[in-house]
Amino acid sequence: MGKVRDGDLDKLGLLFERYKRPLYGFFYGMNKDQELSDDLVQNTFFRILKYRHLFRGEGDFKTWMFHIARNVSHDHFRKTKIKVKEAVEKWEDRLGHNENQAMDMQLADEHQMLAIAMEKLSDEKREILLLSKYQEKKYKEIGEILGCTEGAVKVKVFRALQELKAVYQQLERRM
């Protein structure tokens, strides 16, 4: 990224090829919308290109990229206001509303059920689990993205996994 910042734009093509999948996975994990995730990947790299001079080269590129990706995602939902904030404690209510959906998934495999369970989580919890996945458990770097300590990130991941487990088990019982 340092070379991109200093004018060698061809190197951004290499970064795009290397990171487009995890970035897309992060967005898709958040919104379950292929087209929107495509757009957000595009927007993220647009911002990387536009603000390349701000890359200080101290941390790694991936951390910086996910930092921008979060902002892109938040900006999108702030603008479109299509995302309805969901109270973390009320996921069980939502399970009730989506009972039919859960029942339809009787034949779905574990991954599908896990994807449904992920959808039941709050944005914050889903985001921390996706960052943990795509940042390959580098909690210190995730802390830099979220602006908190490594220990705090671990606790957030622990709580999110606990809730995911609870939702998952509930889904299993319903099937």
Partner: protein
């Protein structure tokens, strides 16, 4: 909390028997780094399954759009390629440039020998000699413009030798072109403070047949307050060759001098 108790707590959690207070303690231990998330069996299994889920990859149109955007940015960069280099690159270069400059000045200061001063003045003298030679050879040319150039060269010389003033007098008294003679007279004015030059100018009055030169000489004598020139000027007034208007003007100059 000692190691055994931590292990007991982890084991209890893995069995699904931990109460809320124990889970809270566990959170604290996780935050402090005493318990690793991988030790929590069920959560790790769930996490592993989540990691294994493939969310796919962006569509080909995303690739196309990205490369089109990159190409357009590169085009812009070619159009206007200047951009401030980052401080990381600029700082060492600036430091090196400043150091080289300072070293250059220091080297110049310390390596300067006293001979250099005399060498510079010797060079100046050589250049002056060359100009003098050039002027003398140009004065010999047939072309009036070459001789004019020769005369004007004296303006670029600081101190001139007797050779130069002699050559200028020779031109003033003998050159066939009035313009060249007039230029020679003007070239001699800056040296009029020298006694020999003033005397040469007075002597020159008698040898001038051009009214314009006569008039200029008379005015110069008046300006210099050169009383010795009165007799020579009077000769011009008395001469039948001198035009009447010139005689009148010379008379005025004589009046100033007397």
């Amino acid at each position: 909390m000692d190691k055994n108790k931590i292990e007991e707590l982890v084991a209890k959690y893995n069995e699904g028997l931990a109460d809320p207070a124990e889970i809270f303690t566990l959170e604290q231990l996780i935050e402090e780094g005493q318990v690793d998330l991988t030790q929590l069996r069920e959560l790790k299994a769930l996490d592993d399954r989540m990691v294994a889920v493939d969310h796919g990859s962006p569509s080909l149109s995303t690739d196309d759009q990205f490369y089109a955007m990159l190409a357009s940015e590169k085009k812009k960069q070619v159009g206007f390629s200047f951009q401030w280099p980052s401080w990381n690159i600029l700082a060492p270069r600036l430091a090196l440039a400043s150091l080289t400059l300072i070293l250059g000045f220091a080297a110049g200061f310390w390596l300067k020998s006293p001979n250099q001063v005399s060498e510079v003045s010797a060079l100046t003298q050589e250049v002056s000699d060359l100009k003098e030679m050039m002027m003398l050879s140009l004065l010999e040319k047939e072309s009036a413009s070459d001789r004019l150039r020769a005369v004007s060269l004296t303006g670029e010389m600081g101190n001139v030798s007797a050779n130069v003033t002699d050559a200028l007098f020779k031109t003033l008294n003998n050159d066939p072109s009035v313009n060249v003679r007039l230029a020679a007279l003007e070239a001699l004015v800056p040296f009029a403070s020298q006694g020999s030059v003033r005397e040469g100018l007075i002597r020159s009055i008698a040898s001038q047949d051009s009214p314009i030169i006569q008039l200029n000489l008379a005015e110069l004598m008046a300006a210099l307050q050169e009383k010795k020139s009165v007799s020579e000027l009077q000769k011009l007034v008395d001469s039948n060759q001198t035009p009447r208007e010139i005689k009148e003007k010379i008379k005025k100059s004589i009046e100033v001098l007397i």
